[in-house]
Amino acid sequence: MNRLPSLLFDLLAFLAPLAPAAVGGLVTEYVGSLNIALEGLILAGAFSYIAVGSVSGPAVGFLAALLVPAAIAYISDLFSRKARADSFVIGLGVNMLVPAVASIVSQAVFGTKGVAVVAGLQSGRVFNEAAGLPLLGFLFGQRTTDYLALVVAVLIAVALARTPFGTRARAAGMNQDALVMAGVDPGRIRGWAYALSGLACGASGAALAASVGAWVPNMSAGRGWIALVAVYLGGKRLGGTFAASALFALLLSMATRAQALSGAPAELLMALPYFITALVVILGAARTRARKRN
């Protein structure tokens, strides 16, 4: 029982960089487009936080982490629409381009293409004094950027669920003609959706980079793909996406705990959540297929 608060604490720490990216993936799903660039956008956010933060401090770094991936996502979608290019391939291109550019800029700015540690950019724990509370302490001991990332995720979720933009985004995904008849440009809605998606991924990236106060190449470690899986596992719904993100965060936190307790190889334990999630995806698909047959 004593281990439960630690497990929940880890769960929240893993959820903070994952949930915003998952919501970002959901935004573009609403407009009927699969954004597979989530992984690259998270990296763009993480690198922007460290690169800009090293010059202007963590607050401006966090802002840059939101805006740079948003701009990348918006421009990539604009290119996809105007050049009538395949958004799937564009996403792949972004995923390849971002780490390469980050490495080149890192070499120029920090003098290394590897790990770049910047003093003062590791996020503090704003509510740490309340972390000792019984039962609910795990809610308060997180890093400030984790809270900020989760706030970004919630705000975007609210925008999707409660604002005209959310309604238009869904209409853009379901029936573009209807949107045109209402006098709304579906391309513009899609562009905003991509920008929001980038912004959400940027929050994820900032949370990751701020947790260690450093840029580590490929530090997203597949979180963008997991976020995409969470969107599908959650049935492309807000609640479901958050729940699926929480499930994966739980698996990761259990893997971390198991490593600490058992001394089993970290890599093997880190592999488990991916295999388990793949099985969950397959079982979910089997269930859906069975329902349709019945």
Binding site: I104, K113, Q176, A266, G284
Partner: protein, 368 residues
């Protein structure tokens, strides 16, 4: 008022004209490489020379580049096999990495002996490992209709962790600083055809596989069924094709090809399995497939283009101060440019739009 555009999906990309795509890719790569050398290096002349001329300067350099293109071509062929069946498998990276590991493990401590038999056994082990990593997504698609894109990337990521552990843990060569398995017995490696270059039989095998795949897609009923299934599975089923087999077999074949590519890397230039040795080959292969217009016959040339970008960037990084990742950035930009519709098509669309407007306004509907 603006009208909605029928956005292209990856299904529209199918097999298309390879020549314009490759011309666009080559010219883009050349321009970008020149820009990169000019902007990112303090010695642009040396960087340019290293990028453009060094890989072709002598026969060994060129032949080594040819060797580099072989695994890429096999992986790209795997991508084409899955994409043309409408399965968007993104698990190539893990499949190739598992193939490398299995090939090295098969020869580890020489327990399968040396010589041609051992080499073939290692190649088979590599291909099988790739297929094993592809098995779960294939089964998921066949029996549950699970999205291959999601399951393949998940299983691939998991496999990468497992192989990382095996190479860096129990099978690591403890005598060196490199995180790698012990070097294989030279007797079981593929023979070097033109030393000092690293050229082996691998590029020739890749070309044969590409030609066989081209024959399969263009000349056989099964190939036609494969393509038809990729475009419209229900229609393919109505035509009496074995759609259940097409739901899983292309994914396994792609796994075999990726695994074989990984094995060739070990048995060719590397000589052992190193941690992280796949180095993004699964992602580059998708770019190669795109540049080749999903046409197997064009794959060797497209793979050679990407191998040149890798080789040129590496040489430029050694001989000048051009960042080594410039090659990766150029590859990504080439993919972006090639994915766009050719300019002439855009002009044609514009012409049609203007013509419609001048004949009584826009009729509405979705533009094709």
């Amino acid at each position: 008022m603006k009208f909605p555009i029928a956005y292209r999906t990856v299904k529209d990309s199918g097999a298309s004209s390879a020549l314009p795509r490759m011309s666009a890719a080559l010219s883009t790569a050349v321009v970008l490489a020149a820009i990169a050398a000019a902007l990112l290096s303090s010695e642009p002349a040396i960087a340019l020379r290293a990028f453009f001329i060094a890989p072709f300067l002598n026969t060994p350099s060129f032949l080594s580049m040819l060797e580099l293109s072989a695994p890429l071509a096999l992986c790209a062929l795997g991508v084409i096999v899955t994409f043309r069946a409408g399965h968007y498998s993104l698990g190539g990276e893990g499949q190739a990495y598992a193939g490398s590991f299995a090939a090295a493990a098969a020869g580890y401590a020489g327990f399968i002996g040396t010589g041609t038999t051992a080499t073939i056994a290692a190649l088979v082990a590599g291909a099988t490992a790739g297929a094993v990593v592809a098995a779960l997504p294939a089964a998921g698609k066949r029996f549950a209709g699970a999205d291959v894109l999601l399951t393949s990337i998940l299983v691939s990521q998991g496999a990468i962790f497992v192989v990382d552990w095996a190479i860096g843990g129990p099978l690591r060569d403890q005598t060196g600083n490199l995180i790698a398995m012990p070097a294989l017995d030279p007797g079981m490696l593929l023979p070097r055809l033109a030393p000092p270059s690293t050229l082996t039989l691998a590029p020739f095998v890749a070309v044969v596989f590409c030609l066989l795949a081209a024959l399969y897609f263009d000349r056989t009923r099964s190939g036609a069924a494969h393509d038809l299934y990729g475009r419209n599975p229900r229609f393919a089923g109505l035509q009496g094709y074995d759609v259940q087999r097409l739901a899983w077999l292309p994914i396994i074949v792609a796994g075999l090809l990726h695994g074989l590519a990984g094995a060739f890397m070990v048995l060719g230039a590397k000589g052992t399995a190193l941690r992280g040795m796949s180095g993004g080959i699964g992602w580059s292969a998708i770019g190669v497939a795109l540049v080749a217009g999903s046409r197997p016959a064009a794959v060797p040339v497209a793979a050679l283009l990407f191998a040149w970008l890798d080789s040129g960037a590496r040489q430029a990084a050694v001989l000048s101060d051009l960042p080594p990742d410039a090659g990766l950035a150029i590859k990504a930009l080439v993919i972006l440019v090639v994915s766009a519709r050719p300019a002439w098509s855009a002009f044609r669309t514009l012409k049609v739009r203007l013509s419609r407007r001048s004949h009584g306004g826009n009729r509405g509907g979705i533009q094709s």
